[in-house]
């Protein structure tokens, strides 16, 4: 049916385009003389006039028909089935199986009637959608055709339509943000304030609790469920791994940026830049595999040779590899800001007899400091939000520790652990993941906004 609808649409559009263009073309030779718009624009406008109502009818009509057909099914069943979401699902699956001829055994009379009613409404409804869509499209087409004249401003109308489409596309970015905010904020609100939710924590318990154990909340009869959603161990775990990552990536990234922008010969740059770009392009799941299967056992063995007790999922392994992931990030951002420092500052320092490293340390780095700080903030935000490396190489146990040799867990690991697998949207456990997502979104957003502000102010200073 969908195929027939769009085939009709395509045929009508092609026909409408050529009819309108032809008509405009014929006017050109006629008594009116020159057209306001090229015939092409008349054709395009006719096509648009067809497409818009037909797509709208389809987008509204198809779900509507499905809804109608579905609700008709439950007229044949007692209300307790219709009100139970689980049984509803079973009935609907039975109906669709019956219609596809895959139903096992002998269907009940109610089921057969329901299926017949479903099929009837579905077919009629879709035919109606096709009819209404075609009718509206043709109506719009004739409206356009009737207005075609040498003074008809077809191009202006069409261009107005194009601008509307462009604006809509640009709005997708805003819609995405709204969607993110809406989905995390709503579920977070339910997590904290929905009275029907069992085992929900208060905001202060969440923010200052030192025990994280979402699983306990499912078994309300066991243990102290109130303390299960303490956020502190996740925060310390995330910060510990981020700290290790920045400790690795900060100096390495900054020094590579300095070397590349101040010392490297063009030939060396041509060789080193792609290396960093490839490193930046390695998928995080690959880095996670490397961290879990190569780096972690190596660190463990190394620790054992010193008599240290290293967890097999140590924070150190995850942090080290994450640091390696961030090197290109810090390096390329710092490279940009170092290159943006005016040459006159360098020349001034050289004229005073400073060596290159003295110039860098005493002149360039202080001048580029705001940019470098913002690069570090973006890197931190990146490390906090990184998922796969920690999922594969860091642990699940929420230990409250700052020892890099122990296993810690992070916000992203917990979100992933909670949401992969079975989920019911009325358990505190599932909603806790959205609360964590909200924290993650909020923290990274703040870091990014501050970093962007710093960069903007800094740019104005030298422009």
């Amino acid at each position: 049916m969908t195929a027939i609808y769009f085939l009709t649409l395509a045929c009508l559009v092609v026909a409408g385009y050529f009819i309108a263009a032809k008509r405009a073309q014929s006017l050109r030779a006629g008594p009116g003389g020159a057209l306001h718009s090229l015939p092409t624009y008349h054709g395009l406008l006719a096509a648009v006039a067809l497409i818009v109502p037909m797509i709208l009818v389809f987008a509204i009509g198809t779900p509507l028909v499905k809804q109608l057909a579905t609700s008709s099914v439950f007229n044949f069943f007692p209300p307790e089935i219709a009100n139970d979401p689980l049984q509803r699902g079973v009935v609907l699956r039975d109906v669709s199986n019956l219609l596809d001829g895959r139903h096992q055994g002998d269907p009940s009379a109610a089921l057969r009637d329901a299926a017949a009613s479903y099929a009837g409404i579905f077919t009629t409804g879709r035919l109606a959608v096709l009819g209404i869509g075609t009718a509206l499209g043709l109506l719009a087409l004739f409206l356009v055709l009737s207005r075609i004249s040498s003074t008809f401003r077809a191009r202006n109308y069409f261009e107005r339509f194009v601008i509307a489409v462009l604006i809509l596309c640009a709005l997708v970015a805003i819609l995405t943000t709204i969607g993110i905010v809406f989905s995390v904020v709503w579920e977070t609100y339910r997590f904290f304030f929905d009275p029907s939710l069992k085992g929900r924590p208060s905001v202060s318990e969440f923010l200052f609790g030192t025990e994280w154990n979402p699983q306990a909340a499912l078994r309300a009869d066991q243990g102290d469920i109130k303390t299960a959603f303490g956020f502190i161990p996740l925060l310390t775990g995330t910060l510990l791994i981020t700290f290790i990552a920045i400790l690795v990536a900060g100096p390495l990234g900054l020094f590579s940026a300095i070397y590349l922008s101040e010392y490297a010969t063009p030939r060396f740059r041509a060789w080193a830049k792609p290396v960093l770009e490839i490193l930046a392009g390695v998928p995080t799941v690959v880095l996670g595999f490397f961290a879990a299967l190569t780096v972690a056992p190596y660190i463990r063995g190394w620790g054992e040779s010193f008599g240290l007790d290293v967890a097999s999922e140590s924070a150190l392994a995850a942090g080290l590899v994450m640091g390696m992931m961030i090197i290109p990030f810090i390096s390329s951002l710092s490279d940009d800001v170092i290159n943006a420092v005016p040459q006159s500052l360098r020349d001034g320092a050289y004229a005073l007899g400073a060596t290159k490293s003295e110039t860098i340390k005493k002149v360039i780095l202080p001048a580029a400091l705001p940019g470098i700080v913002s690069a570090f903030m973006l890197a931190i935000s990146r490390a906090i939000g990184e998922t796969m490396i920690v999922v594969m190489a860091a642990g699940l146990a929420a230990n409250l520790t700052f020892n890099p040799l122990e296993a810690v867990t992070t916000i992203t690991v917990q979100i992933k652990t909670i949401l992969v697998g079975d989920q019911e949207f009325d358990s505190a456990k599932t909603l806790a993941a959205f609360a964590l997502g909200f924290v993650l979104f909020f923290v990274t957003l703040v870091l990014n906004i501050i970093a962007q502000q710093i960069v903007r102010r800094y740019r104005e200073q030298y422009d």
Partner: protein, 579 residues
């Protein structure tokens, strides 16, 4: 005198630095050393990154190598006439549902005669994969005339057997004999006597291992006695006692020894069979027959051998019997190594030797197609609007700030969006490439918008102005002149964005693309998985063979990424224009 002092009262203070003085020279040298050091730090930082990348790629590459080959047994498979009832000989359903296990068992029994008893037989049948019977089945379904004939077919080995031939087994040391030996029986538990003291060297090395073990136990006891744990003293005493006993046995050079699975396995190959030693003395052994002997005749010096499987049985995945069987197959030249096509042509499986990445690749392709169809037009349209048509006002600023922020939102948050919006609110199917594509499209949209804007900005304004000058409308100027010139840049940005989407895992986990899916997806609403998620799933599995599969899938993913990024670089080089 006084005049003179008054005349030179306050000379201007001027510090003169004599740069030739030793101190100044030292200071300059110090500064130059600092300079060299600083430069070296920079170089070191870049080299560290390069070394890390190299180690990463080499490590994954070496781990991936075994995934691309596979071993199978080239055996003569006799398809019995009674596989299906005579009247059903051309009925594909009957052929498909027939029991192929007896066929496999008979084939293996014929290949290695003399393996008896339920245990050894089961070991034998477990050497080949469950997929081997399916291969035979497919061949017979395709050609029912094969029933009643004997075909030469490769039987896929199981993952552990396959890994054995890829070096995860044990080194085998073979030592020829010096004297004669006589076995007491041809099967079961037997004794072999070798009056020439052929086994004395083995006994010595076993005693050495025991002495080492005794020392280790003593050290352990020492450590335990120092610990503060309760009953540490008792435990230490126990350990010491054990150590003393072991040491006494080790010192008695001639006493017979019982071998356990923590010691290297010792075997005797005699009269065409193989005996695993359980009791070892210098001139006689007791042991169990793994492969039956042909006779109890006395074997002359040089005709029989002592084999050592150096890796103890407890520290490898396969037993001595399995090693013996596989070695026998190898000796019969029935083991064949081939390129693992199955890895590219089949879907996921619980059996490592049957698992492939075709399902994941198709899922990835479907997902990326959805992503591309959505984000290329929307991204380019948004970029055109913001770069060419947007008025300078708060609303435009808002959009721009939004895009910049979205570019830095963690990818897992997009997964939450997909879960809450697309799955729960709009009720789209779980695990489907459609939803995956939608989420990834939103994820890479900022990248594509930013890249497209840069490409549009790089087109000189003179081109647009010329078009406007000859009477084009603003839109005509943009769509007919600016956009085509910006296209290479937009394409480069798009490919880089798609490469980013290809490597993305976390948001897809959120929308349920982690399900175990065997079938290759047929459409964008079928349940599917993608390559990075497949990598993640496999990396979690305990079987050693899946580690190679994971690395193999990573290599495929990296190859795709390099091809995409390479294309982007080529496009940039080929079409880049400087005005």
């Amino acid at each position: 005198m006084t005049d003179l002092t008054a005349g030179t009262a306050t000379p201007p203070i001027r510090r003169r630095v004599d740069i030739t003085s030793p101190e100044a020279q030292a200071a300059i040298r110090r500064r130059y050393r600092a300079e060299a050091r600083f430069k070296a730090y920079g170089l070191l930082a870049i080299l560290t990154a390069a070394v890390f990348l190299t180690v990463l790629l080499v490590d994954v590459g070496t781990k991936a190598f075994p995934a691309f080959t596979t071993h199978s047994l080239q055996l003569d498979v006799a398809i019995p006439n009674d596989l299906v009832a005579p009247e059903q000989k051309n009925d594909p359903v009957a052929i498909r549902t027939a029991d192929y296990l007896p066929v496999m068992r008979d084939t293996l029994r014929t290949a290695i005669p003399g393996v008896q008893g339920r245990g050894p037989e089961r070991t034998l049948i477990r050497l080949i994969s469950t997929g081997a019977a399916d291969d035979i089945r497919e061949r017979i379904v395709a050609n029912p005339a094969l029933i009643g004939t004997t075909i030469k077919a490769p039987l896929l080995l199981s993952d552990d057997a396959d890994l054995y031939f890829k070096g995860a087994g044990t080194p085998i040391v073979v030592r020829p004999s010096r004297g004669v030996a006589t076995p007491s029986d041809t099967s079961g538990s037997i004794t072999i006597t070798a009056p020439g003291n052929d086994f004395s060297e083995n006994l010595v090395s076993v005693k050495l291992v025991m002495a080492e073990r005794a020392n280790a136990l003593l050290a352990d006891a020492e450590r335990t006695s120092r610990s503060t744990a309760p009953n540490a003293a008792e435990r230490a005493a126990e350990l010491r006692k054990e150590a003393t006993e072991l040491a006494a046995r080790a010192n008695d050079r001639t006493a017979a020894e019982t071998l356990d699975s923590r010691l290297p396995s010792l075997l005797v190959g005699i009269n065409g069979g193989l005996v695993k030693i359980s009791q070892l003395a210098a001139d006689r052994i007791e042991g169990d027959v793994l492969l039956p002997l042909s006779s109890t005749n006395e074997s002359q010096a040089g005709n029989w051998r002592i084999l050592t499987y150096t890796t103890p049985e407890s520290s490898r995945k396969i037993t001595d019997l399995e090693v013996a069987l596989l070695e026998r197959f190898k000796a019969n030249a029935q083991v064949e190594r081939s390129f693992n096509w199955r890895f590219f042509t089949s879907g996921d499986s619980r059996e490592p030797e049957l698992a492939g990445i075709r399902g994941a690749i198709v899922g990835t392709a479907l997902t990326l197609i959805v992503t591309l169809i959505l984000c290329l037009p929307i991204g380019v349209a948004a970029a055109i609007y913001l770069e060419e048509f947007a008025p300078k006002n708060r609303f435009t600023d808002l959009i721009e700030v939004n895009i910049n922020n979205l570019a830095a939102v963690p990818s897992i948050v997009f997964g939450l969006l997909g879960l809450a919006m697309f799955l729960n609110f709009f009720g789209l199917p779980r695990s489907a490439p459609l939803v995956g594509g939608l989420v990834l499209a939103l994820l890479v949209l900022p990248t594509i918008i930013i890249a497209s804007r840069a490409a549009l900005k790089a087109v000189p304004p003179s081109i647009k102005e010329a078009a406007l000058g000859v009477g084009a409308s603003h839109q005509q100027a943009v769509f007919h002149h600016v956009l085509p010139l910006a296209m290479p840049g937009i394409m480069t940005g798009t490919i880089i964005g798609m490469a980013h989407a290809l490597g993305e895992t976390a948001p897809l986990l959120m929308i349920g693309m982690v399900a175990f899916i065997v079938d290759v997806p047929g459409g964008i609403t079928d349940a599917a998985t993608v390559l990075p998620v497949q990598i993640y799933l496999w990396s979690d599995l305990p079987e050693l063979a899946f580690q190679a599969k994971t690395a193999g899938a990573i290599v495929v993913l990296l190859v795709f990424l390099f091809v995409m990024n390479g294309t982007a670089i080529w496009l940039r080089k080929r079409f880049e224009r400087r005005w």
